[in-house]
């Protein structure tokens, strides 16, 4: 099992889980907010649409093509 920090909250999930699945496992699958502040969530699931962009350890990454790592810090983006 792997422990990551999502917006300051700890989450423990199986190895091999994608960050996109981790967002959903937190109970709120949104990854970013649109220009009006409405939530957007992973859409294409395969690294094309860029809707799932989040900040991972300080870098902008796509949640759907990134696997969770021990101690990883994930922050939803605006």
């Amino acid at each position: 099992m792997i422990r990551l920090i999502l917006d300051g909250e700890a989450l423990v999930l199986p190895e091999g889980t994608s960050v996109a699945a981790a967002l959903a496992a937190s109970g709120d699958d949104h990854a970013r907010s649109d220009l009006a502040g409405r939530p957007r969530a992973p859409f294409c699931g395969m690294g094309i649409c860029q809707e799932c962009r989040v900040c991972i350890d300080g870098r902008r990454r796509l949640a759907c093509v990134t696997l969770i790592r021990e101690g990883m810090k994930v922050e939803r983006t605006r």
Binding site: S18, D29, F43, G45, M46, Q50, C64
Partner: protein, 423 residues
């Protein structure tokens, strides 16, 4: 993962799906050194994607094991192509670094993506692509007990439904736009591909409805229901997720950047899977979507051709033709009928990144004008989603791509430029 990126190779393959893996195996068998770059964390492509909840078919496991043990193979996963700064060179980026790779020959196995068409409510969390939902489930998303609607067109809808069932999700709708007459004649043709007939029977679902039209997705902050029209009757169906997809479109951006000619359905190739650019080959769904069987054979032919094994490649051409015929059947029977596509509403967002509505786009005559006036296609996805949608909605030819092919870090871009200046 922290191993340094390779600097050069004889054969560089972009994409580690069925075509890329088959090609790497075929070329390595003839002593060619191969580098494979792939944007996913592990090989398999979209169809043979691994994950915590995945039971891959034996054929996929066997190929992946063989591929990963190839002598001389260097696999760079989670690596994206950013640019082709000079001939026979690609600029690539990973999470922590970037580099340029020089190649003698290049094989594009960049696959296909779902055609995602706009409809009211499609930006609500809970709405995904059909293949997108499969990918998310394989990545560990739990759908147990959730009510799931699936809508759009093509066999991917049935595959998605099977994934949902296997994960104990509750399928509440499975709406296909093609009419029963087309589905019946498609099924009648399947005796020519017995494995596909068996698969069709295995995937059959009592929820399947033909001639159905997805009208809209409803919800405030998240998806709450979907409206589907079947036989002239509109029904609102409460659901937790909606997976939608309207067939596949080839990923041709890198090929276009390299100057490769395109055909009607994807990258144009000859009998050796060679593109119009010398030394550049293409195989699999990026040459026209047709399924994993076709991708595997095209990959082998391309790998053999890149290793100058032309007689061996030629021996596979009949098998390729058999699966090309299957691809043609798919295209014919699941052709999109505009009367059964989601209704056009002026307020529906088409460009999800820049939030451009259908109404704003309708006032323009082509993609270029629409882009200049509205910023459509200028956001993070660089038109990957909305250009395919506007091609369907307005008949606008997809725009030629420009580097960087996906959002990249400034240090990666500098690396591509610096190498160019130095030499």
């Amino acid at each position: 993962m922290n191993e340094r990126l390779p600097r050069e190779c004889e054969l560089l393959i972009v994409g580690a799906g069925p075509a890329g893996m088959a090609a790497a195996c075929a070329a390595a068998d003839h002593g060619i050194s191969v580098v494979v770059i792939d944007d996913n964390p592990a090989p398999g492509g979209q169809i043979w994607r691994g994950g915590p909840r995945v039971n891959l078919p034996p054929r996929a496991r066997a190929l992946r094991e063989r591929f990963e043990r190839l002598p001389g193979l260097r696999l760079c996963s989670a690596t994206r192509v950013i640019d082709a700064p000079t001939p026979r060179r690609l600029l690539v980026e990973r999470e922590h670094d970037a580099g340029v790779i020089d190649y003698h020959r290049l094989l594009l196995c960049t696959g296909a993506r779902e055609r995602l068409l706009p409809f009211p409510g499609w930006t609500l969390p809970g709405v995904t692509g059909a293949g997108g939902l499969q990918a998310l489930i394989k990545g560990g998303l739990t759908v147990r007990g959730e009510r799931i609607a699936i809508a759009g067109s093509g066999p991917l809808l049935l595959a998605c439904a099977a994934t949902v069932r296997a994960q104990r999700g509750r399928l509440v709708a499975l709406a296909e736009q093609a009419p029963w007459s087309e589905l019946a004649s498609f099924t009648m043709e399947l005796w020519r591909w017995p494995a596909k007939l068996a698969q069709a029977i295995a995937l059959a679902s009592p929820r399947y409805r033909a001639a159905s039209r997805l009208i809209e997705a409803l919800g405030e902050r998240r998806l709450e229901a979907v409206v589907i029209e079947s036989l002239g009757e509109r029904r609102e169906i409460a659901c937790d997720r909606l997976a939608c997809g309207f067939g596949l479109v080839a990923n041709t951006e890198l090929a276009q950047l390299l100057g490769c000619a395109l055909g009607e359905r994807g990258i144009s190739v000859d009998q050796h899977q060679a593109t119009s650019v010398a030394g550049v080959y293409a195989a699999g769904e990026c040459t026209g979507p047709g399924g994993s069987e076709l991708a595997l054979i095209e990959g082998r032919i391309a790998g053999l051709a890149a290793a100058d094994q032309y007689p061996l490649a030629a021996a596979l051409s009949r098998r390729r033709a058999r699966w090309q015929a299957f691809a043609a059947q798919l295209e014919q029977h699941f052709a999109l009928d505009s009367s059964r596509l989601p209704p056009r509403r002026a307020t529906t967002l088409v460009c999800r990144c820049e939030e451009v509505t259908l109404g704003e786009l309708e006032t323009h005559s082509d993609w270029r004008r629409a882009k200049l006036a509205s910023r459509c296609g200028m956001g993070a996805c660089q038109g990957r989603v909305c250009a395919a949608a506007t091609a369907q909605l307005f008949g606008w030819p997809p725009p030629p791509p420009r580097p960087p092919l996906s959002p990249a870090r400034i240090d990666s871009l500098l690396l591509g430029g610096m190498k160019e200046v130095q030499e």
